[in-house]
Symmetry: C2
Subunit: 390 residues, 2 copies
């Protein structure tokens, strides 16, 4: 037996306890929980075969009562120093994988600042916000099969590109490869067809949250997206952070959404809001270029899930839904480079270079943290990816 | 042992051999093949555990060489009368299920007649076809988790509706519930990220085809779809037929697409086209109201898959991609009621009634068949669904 020595300023203290899927040399993938700089092998520490699975889905499907119970067991082990030595691995020595099997992936567009910026850039001659935007969280389905874990190289996508000066599209690698800094939420407990999940049932269904980088090829997207929405401009890859922070760790982060005017229809109204005060930071080749505030989002994640299911659509264990780009009111809070550089017309300083979109070899790291109990911080870790030429 | 007595005019002769998932009283789900009006239990007849699975995915993943081999074994059993009696079940006595686990679901918009009609209805003051339409097969991701098998009741979806005369949306059951008659294709052999599937590799990856009814709530769709495309207007349910007709049964159905002008970019060019001469029929409460011709589609399914993967997106076993509504040039060939009734302004005769959109209790049955060898027909069976009130 051994104790866990977690520095009091760690973002991975016993108030966090995020779950991931890991392996060490020679072992199968299994469920671990991060505490400080250690990964606790739950299949060993708790002796339950649900943690010997290569994804979190079976555990997530067990429901909130079980999530609460396991969390209490882990906290007790960690604080009482009762973790068996063979269950402990240094986080730097393990390999991390996609933490869950993604069922359906939905991406929203829930930041008013982002939606206004994109409207101004893509449709300069019209009202930036569409008439529906303040009535419902606008969203669409993305490609679940290309959600990848942090650290996966991102191959520059090729596709049809057409600039206004061209009479017809040509084909080639994207010249306007971008990021979208987002938060994503994963469903644990499924819902049946015909049984919508109300905002107040959010915590019964949603297991936890990850950081999302929804890589976007703006030139491909701009040409293809009318009238059925983004397709190849987004579907090549979406990266997520490897540690799923349980909703149970985010109680201190709960805040209110901005005032929603007009008042949403009843099915979108929350008792106590699930808006969350999460601070993100975007590093481009090691230089911080933006600090998107999740707390500034217009629509909460509970409203997004309620909207997704209000038509009777079922939800499955592993469904991932993301916020859309997080942008705040200030320029240095914009979560996509197309906004930060105003469509590529205002380059930003990345160290000594002035840059617009991503070049081959560039690396982007998005990190996030939220308030925890007693002045602590709850860390989400980071999601990183490097661009490689196609 | 027993022989199989299949009438020579059956659409399920030995030239077809479609696969499905079935159970009989007291048995688990397993793989069957339909021959005439019998279902052959392949786990018994061929004694291979891959057919004891509750979905076709493991078999579909084995690849084309294996598909050819199994098809030859089944044809030999059937023609030589060598099917063990305990492997035979009357098709009316079995329960049929969703034939495969849907990985990602993509829906296209590949009929020029449909796209023009929808453009005229939704955007009466602009060119009906968007500038991108003849350069690429326009498509978007749908909800994989709500793909259901034929026979599943369709609960009328509720959602936000806003007519032009309303200043704000209200909430309630869709008043403009519609169908979309489509063909769908399922991927058997996956592809890696960064390795696009060329049109000429189509038959190495795609296992077979089904009929699709992409139920659509037009009022919900019209309000929500700008700028990110359809979401709740489609995501409540998509029905597919239970029998997957192998691509190997569709050689005689291969035709050419209409002339594509402008010529598509090289990645969309086919050697021999995978356009298919499939005739559909739509019955509304037992009355035939339309005969959509799949052969009139502008884009072929091989072009759709090539486009889906050209940006480097991977494809998985179970990926389903559908054609979008199939409409021909004539009014009685339109595959959606919004086109057939011109936005609800020109009711059609359904037996003795004049109708526009679907009412509770209505049943829609879409059937399809294609030419087979020697004047035979290859049947897809049908996809049916009844509307129930929410």
């Amino acid at each position: 037996m051994t104790g866990l020595d977690v520095p009091s300023d760690s973002q991975f203290g016993v108030n966090n306890l995020p779950y991931g899927i890991f392996s060490t040399r020679g072992t199968d993938k299994r469920v671990g929980v991060r505490i400080g700089d250690e990964v606790v092998d739950l299949s060993v520490a708790l002796g339950d075969t649900v943690f010997a699975n290569p994804s979190l889905n079976p555990f997530m499907a067990q429901g909130r009562e079980r999530w609460v119970d396991v969390r209490a067991q882990i906290a007790a082990l960690a604080t009482e120093g009762d973790v068996p030595a063979e269950a402990l691995h240094e986080v730097g020595a393990v390999t991390l994988y996609l933490p869950f099997e993604v069922a359906d992936y939905v991406d929203f567009y829930a930041s008013e600042y982002h939606a206004v910026n994109m409207g101004r850039l893509f449709r300069p001659d019209s009202e930036p916000l569409m008439p529906n935007w303040k009535h419902l969280p606008v969203g669409y389905h993305g490609r679940a099969g290309t959600v990848v874990v942090s650290g996966t190289d991102i191959v520059r996508p090729a596709g049809q590109r057409k600039t206004p000066s061209q009479s017809a599209p040509d084909f080639g690698p994207s010249r306007r490869l971008d990021i979208e800094a987002e938060m994503g939420f994963v469903v644990g407990v499924p819902s049946e067809r015909g049984a919508p999940i109300t905002p107040d049932q959010f915590a019964e269904h949603v297991f936890g949250a990850v950081i999302v980088n929804d890589w976007s090829a703006r030139d491909i997207q701009a040409w293809e997206y009318v009238p059925l929405g983004p397709f190849l401009g987004k579907s090549f890859a979406t990266s997520i952070s490897p540690w799923v922070v349980p909703l149970l760790a985010l109680e201190e982060a709960r805040i209110s959404t901005p005032i929603q005017d007009p008042e949403p229809l009843p099915y979108l109204r929350e008792g106590r809001s699930w808006a969350l005060d999460i601070d993100l930071a975007v590093e481009w080749n090691g230089h911080e270029v933006s600090r998107p505030p999740y707390g500034a989002m217009y629509w909460s994640p509970a409203q997004m899930l309620a909207h997704t299911t209000v038509n009777g659509a079922s939800s499955r264990t592993g469904d991932l839904f993301a916020s859309g780009t997080i942008s705040g009111p200030a320029k240095e809070q914009r979560g996509a480079f197309i906004e930060l550089t105003w469509g590529g017309t205002e380059p930003v300083a990345v160290g000594d270079e002035m840059r617009t979109f991503l070049e081959d070899g560039d690396e982007v790291v998005i990190s996030a943290s939220a308030p925890g109990p007693g002045g602590t911080r709850i860390g989400f870790g980071d999601v990183r990816g490097r661009i490689v030429g196609s």
